[in-house]
């Protein structure tokens, strides 16, 4: 029996990115509600149409239970899968599978957070402190940049990657962000400006790090039958892959990510190769995250990421592999300290031809979005999606 596939069975009908980057006057549930309404309106649907809801650690309270009540949803399918910033891509995979199986017609995925102006922080802190690894990692002053710096330092040691090469990732993101009126940082920066910005944790400078913003986003996935009834360009999900990479009992290799496994799964399901992809949204918590992910997704050889991203390869249009045309987490938005949602949103914009005109990839037929949740330094949830303009 051939394997069951979700290829083309589920379509992204609605996307929404909150335009706010500082939202001191809103609660977390309010932001979830705003982005839910935005994505449903984009699809031409309402809250009453939703039968499945997906939330992660940023959802307050009891996750889907609390949010279903607050949003007024009548649900027969829920999923609170938590893999950090990649959770929303995992949710797309799970929603696509549930739609393919006939369990779900309209799935809603939301993200909201206020790390910039305070209020309730992201959930999961109680779970973190009781983790079996907690006392062997939390006692040593590991900040988020510090952890990613450990991966960057080892990558530099093994492959000769340079700070200037990492800076190219930020330069490309900033080149795109100048065209995004909502981007938190809209100034184009140079390699020199990146490498002369203050060192946070060697070898990562301040401009190697993503922004901290309030905000959120939402996605609406629908079945083929629902999509046929909508007056909106729906983007089919062609391939999905998820993988957890952890420390393997102390045998951690810091130079690769879970994309080495999630990528091939997604490409195989979609029936495409990296060379077929027109646009990529790569989770860019830090510049090193992008460089390692591109290698692990086989857009270039392992260790050659530094050379690959040089000379404007990631810039749109015209670069070999246009990436993060909204400015990404490095410049545009990193709501709730979780970058997966906006990666899917911008990939859908590209496939619909609705990206900012200056950065729209001509004839964008195939797009890839990749999320990395957790930390490159310890354990991560990696998720890859391949989406098409049409089935």
């Amino acid at each position: 029996m051939p394997p069951v596939t979700i290829r083309g069975k589920a379509l992204i009908a609605g996307v929404y990115e909150h335009p706010g980057r500082e939202l001191p006057d809103r609660t977390l549930p309010q932001i979830h509600a705003e982005v839910a309404a935005g994505a449903l309106a984009d699809a031409g649907l309402t809250l009453a149409d939703v039968d499945a809801y997906y939330s992660a650690g940023d959802a307050p309270g009891f996750g889907a239970l609390s949010m279903a009540e607050y949003l007024g949803l009548d649900l027969t399918y829920i999923d609170d899968t938590e893999t950090g910033g990649s959770a929303y891509l995992v949710h797309v995979q799970h929603a696509a599978a549930a739609i393919a199986a006939g369990h779900v017609n309209v799935a809603l995925i939301t993200l909201a957070g206020k790390p910039r102006t305070g209020g309730a922080g992201p959930g999961g802190s109680a779970r973190f402190s009781s983790a079996p690894e907690a006392s062997f990692e939390n006692q040593f002053g590991m900040s988020v940049p510090g952890g990613y710096a450990l991966a960057a330092a080892r990558h530099m040691h093994e492959f000769g990657t340079t700070s200037e090469q990492l800076a190219e990732v930020k330069v490309a993101a900033s080149t795109h962000a100048q065209h995004n009126p909502h981007a938190f940082l809209q100034d184009v920066v140079t390699v020199d400006e990146v490498v002369s910005s203050p060192m946070i944790s060697d070898p990562l400078h301040r401009l190697d790090c993503c922004v901290i913003t309030d905000g959120g986003g939402a996605l609406v996935l629908v079945s083929e039958a629902v999509a046929a009834s909508l007056n909106r360009h729906c983007v089919p999900v062609l391939g999905t892959g998820t993988a957890i990479k952890h420390t393997s009992g102390g045998r951690i290799d810091l130079t690769h990510t879970g994309a080495t496994r999630s990528g091939p799964l997604a490409f195989a399901e979609a029936g495409v190769t990296p060379a077929d992809i027109d646009y990529v949204s790569i989770y860019d918590s830090f510049t090193i995250t992008v460089l390692m992910t591109l290698e692990d997704l086989d857009f270039c050889e392992k260790g050659h990421g530094g050379r690959f991203v040089s000379d404007g390869a990631l810039q749109s249009p015209g670069g070999a592999l246009p990436f993060n045309t909204d400015g990404g987490g490095l410049c545009n938005n990193h709501p709730a300290n979780r970058g997966g949602m906006t990666k899917v949103v911008e990939a859908v914009r590209q496939l619909r031809g609705e990206a900012q005109a200056a950065v729209q990839v001509p004839d964008c037929e195939l797009a890839l979005a990749h999320g990395t949740g957790g930390s490159l330094a310890t354990r991560m949830g990696s998720a890859t999606l391949v989406m098409g303009r049409s089935t």
Binding site: G141, S143, M199, T247
Partner: protein, 139 residues
């Protein structure tokens, strides 16, 4: 957590549980005790009462050498919260002679001199509760 230890770094007490009691009890005596998989012989990190290999999941605890080399390191210069006053400090993975790579700090030296491949030796940094944190100093 406002107190700094003998190396100028915070010494937050660990959470000790039934699976990690042996490890933390030994640190209080200045000894590094680790679990080894009864099946594969691999040394398991973080310390726990099980290994993740095939077959039996039992482990036997033994005293390790405390010798290792720096697998990766970073000088953290900016960090919020209780570690701010300890910066700059070295966060590192040390590969123990017995195999595992452990997250730690390199102490007792100029942070700028620490590098990948450097030989290091375990030191035990006491916390107020008794257990000591496993840190390393140049060998």
């Amino acid at each position: 957590m406002s107190e700094l230890g003998q190396f100028g770094l915070p010494v937050p007490p660990p959470t000790v549980n039934l699976e990690t009691q042996r490890f933390w009890d030994a640190t209080a005596e200045g000894r590094l005790v680790l679990p080894r998989c009864d099946n594969s012989g691999d040394v398991v990190w973080y310390p726990r009462e099980r290994c993740d290999g095939p077959g039996s999941n039992s482990v036997t605890w033994f005293e390790a050498s405390g010798r290792g080399t720096v697998y990766s390191c970073t000088v953290t210069r900016r960090i919020p919260g209780s570690w701010r006053k300890a910066a700059p400090f070295v966060l590192a993975y040390v590969e123990l002679e017995e195999g595992p790579r452990v997250l730690t700090n390199i102490v007792g030296c100029d942070p700028e001199t620490v590098h990948i491949g450097q030989a290091v030796q375990a030191v035990f940094d006491p916390t107020p509760d008794g257990p000591a944190l496993l840190r390393f100093t140049p060998a």
